[in-house]
């Protein structure tokens, strides 16, 4: 019941909502999170963001976490799409969708899934700054803490 994708191309939010809800009327609420590339970090302008991942591990790990969410909350389906490659400021990075009969389950599962993607899924971001300098993004302790709330 989960759809997992790692892709370099953009995703279509409406199409993903439609795919998750098509032909069914048992959904009461859909939670969604979309992460996008910001044009600055720590006060410096960013011109690009490059995402690398560990292909053999990524989709299997994403499928497992989607399954864990479906066991933890009453979900009728979820969608996880993560982009890789070179992205520009304003571009979409990640989409999480969770459908449930109940609002709170949809929202909680959405928060759980994006926290997990931030802290456990094997993706790495490199930022390119205005002067051409490139730096790998350091892991955020606040993100690690957000994930541990779900432990």
């Amino acid at each position: 019941m989960s759809k997992i994708r790692v892709q370099s191309t953009d995703f279509d939010i409406s199409a993903e909502f439609s795919a998750l809800t098509a032909g069914r009327a048992d959904i009461g609420g859909l939670g969604c999170f979309v992460g996008t590339v910001r044009d600055s970090a720590k006060g410096r302008k960013i011109t690009a963001m490059t995402l690398e991942h560990y292909p053999a591990m990524t989709e299997a790990a994403m499928a497992r976490i989607a399954q864990a969410a479906e066991q933890r909350w009453e979900l009728l389906g979820c969608t996880l799409i993560h982009r890789v490659g070179r992205l520009l400021p304003g571009d979409n990075i990640v989409l999480v969708l969770a459908a449930s009969p109940h609002r709170q389950a949809a929202l909680d599962a959405t928060g759980f899934l994006i926290d997990w993607l931030k802290t456990k899924a094997p993706f790495w971001k490199k930022e390119t700054f205005l002067d051409g300098a490139e730096e790998w993004v350091a892991a955020n302790e606040a993100d690690e803490a957000a994930s541990s709330r779900w432990a």
């Binding site: 053999a56 993560h82 926290d115 993607l117 993706f123 790495w124 971001k125 690690e144």
Partner: protein, 86 residues
């Protein structure tokens, strides 16, 4: 001696200088904890990549591993910094 595949990601890959390598491990390298110092001695690039073990993460056969995780012939062993997806 056991053959394993090593994978490196993000700045670990850049410092080691290759994204993957097939290595023959001596019999005494039985765990991830024993593998790291052995890798560090392979080249200046490896030494630079494995300098800060606090910011090192490892997966064996695509599952997160710890220093205690044992190594078997044919394993795929990946080293990378803390993840920053999402």
């Amino acid at each position: 001696m056991r053959q394993v595949k090593l994978l490196y990601f993000a700045w670990l890959r850049e410092r080691v200088g290759v994204s993957e390598e097939d290595l023959m491990l001596p019999a005494e390298i039985g765990s991830i904890g024993a593998l790291v110092p052995w890798l560090r001695a392979r080249s200046p690039g490896h030494a630079a990549a494995f300098v800060a073990t606090a910011s090192l993460r490892c997966a064996v056969n695509q599952d997160f591993a710890t220093p205690e995780t044992p190594i078997a012939a044919g394993d795929e062993i990946a080293f990378f910094p803390p993840v920053t997806g999402g």
